[in-house]
Symmetry: C2
Amino acid sequence: MGITEIIAAEALLQLRGIGKQSPPETPTFQETEDPEISARPSTATVDESSSSMTMEEEGPTMSRKRSRSCTSESSDQSSSDEFLHALEPSGNNVIRIGDGNANVPVEIYTSIKWDSYTMATRNLLSAVFPRHILATHSLSGKRSPAFPGKAAKEKLDPKLVHDIVKTVVEKCGVPENIVR
Amino acid sequence: MGITEIIAAEALLQLRGIGKQSPPETPTFQETEDPEISARPSTATVDESSSSMTMEEEGPTMSRKRSRSCTSESSDQSSSDEFLHALEPSGNNVIRIGDGNANVPVEIYTSIKWDSYTMATRNLLSAVFPRHILATHSLSGKRSPAFPGKAAKEKLDPKLVHDIVKTVVEKCGVPENIVR
DNA sequence: GTTCCAATTGGAT
DNA sequence: GATCCAATTGGAA
C-alpha cells in the first residue's frame, strides 16, 4: 500500500472520530454536470460477456511500432525464447498468457523485461488493450471517490486483466495485491 | 505501482497528446482559504533539525492501549524476543530501529506481525509519531496534485521515516519503493 | 471498526 | 518525453 495512504487513513480517522473541529471544506457544490461526458453509450456494469472490443479508427499516428493482431485462435503456446528482434512484424503469432484469454504477440512478449513489474504490466496492458480502450476504461469501472462529479469509466475485461496480473505475478515474483 | 495508476497515466497521455476534445472540467475556482488551518505554527519546510515533537494534549479517549514514551536515551538495543503480552506498561524500554533515530517501545515492537508489511508500517508509524502528528503531516509535505486548493501538510521527519522504511524492508523483505 | 481498494491529479525524476 | 511519486477521497471488503 505505501506510507502515503496509511497516513491519509490515520488522518481521516483522527478528523472524523475525535474533533471534527475543522470541517476541511464547505462542499461549495462542485457538481458540474458535464453533459458531454455522459453522451457516451455508458453501457453501465460491463459483465464478462463483452469481449467484442470494437476497434474503430486505430490511428497510426503514434511512433510506437506496436503491431497488434486480434486474430485469437492461434495456438502457438511454446513461447520459444530464441532471439527475435527483427524489424518486420512476424505475422500474427501470439501466445496466450494467464488462463489463455489474453493473447500477446510473441514479438512483444519476448521483449518484455520482467525485472520491472511495473513496466511488464504496462507493456502487457498495451499489448492486449488498444490505447483508446485504456484511455476510456478503468480497472473496476467505479468512479473516483475523490472526484464524485466525474463520470465513471467502463470496466476493463476482468478475464484479460486477470491473465495479465497472473503473468506478472509468475514472471516477476511479486504478490498479486502489489500488481493491482 | 499498480494497474490503476498505469491506466490513468495511459489515459492522460491519450487525452493530452491527441485530442483534448473534452477538457475534463472547468476549474471552477475552488480555492477556499481555510484560515484556521494556517493558524498552526507552520514551520514551513521542516528540515531534519526538528526532532522536538511537541506533544500537547494527548487525549486518552482512544481505546488503543498504545503507551508511548519519548524519553529517548535508553540504550536497550538487544531486542529480546521473549514473550511479553503483559498489560502493565513496561516502563520506557525502547529499541532503536533503522539508523537509530526512531525509538519504538519493545512492547509494541515485539507485538508487530511482520508478515503484513502494511500493518507493520502502520504500527511503526503509530509507535514513533503521535496521532495528531500523523493527522497533520504527510510524507513529502507537498500538496496533493489532485487538490491544489487544499493546504499542504507539514513534512514528517525524514530520518524517522527512513528508519521505519528500512525496518519494514528488512523485516518484511519487500522493496523500498513498495513500502513508500 | 479497521483496513483495503483504486480513481484522479500535477509535479518530480 | 516517458515514468514515478504521493496526496486525497468514499465505498468496499
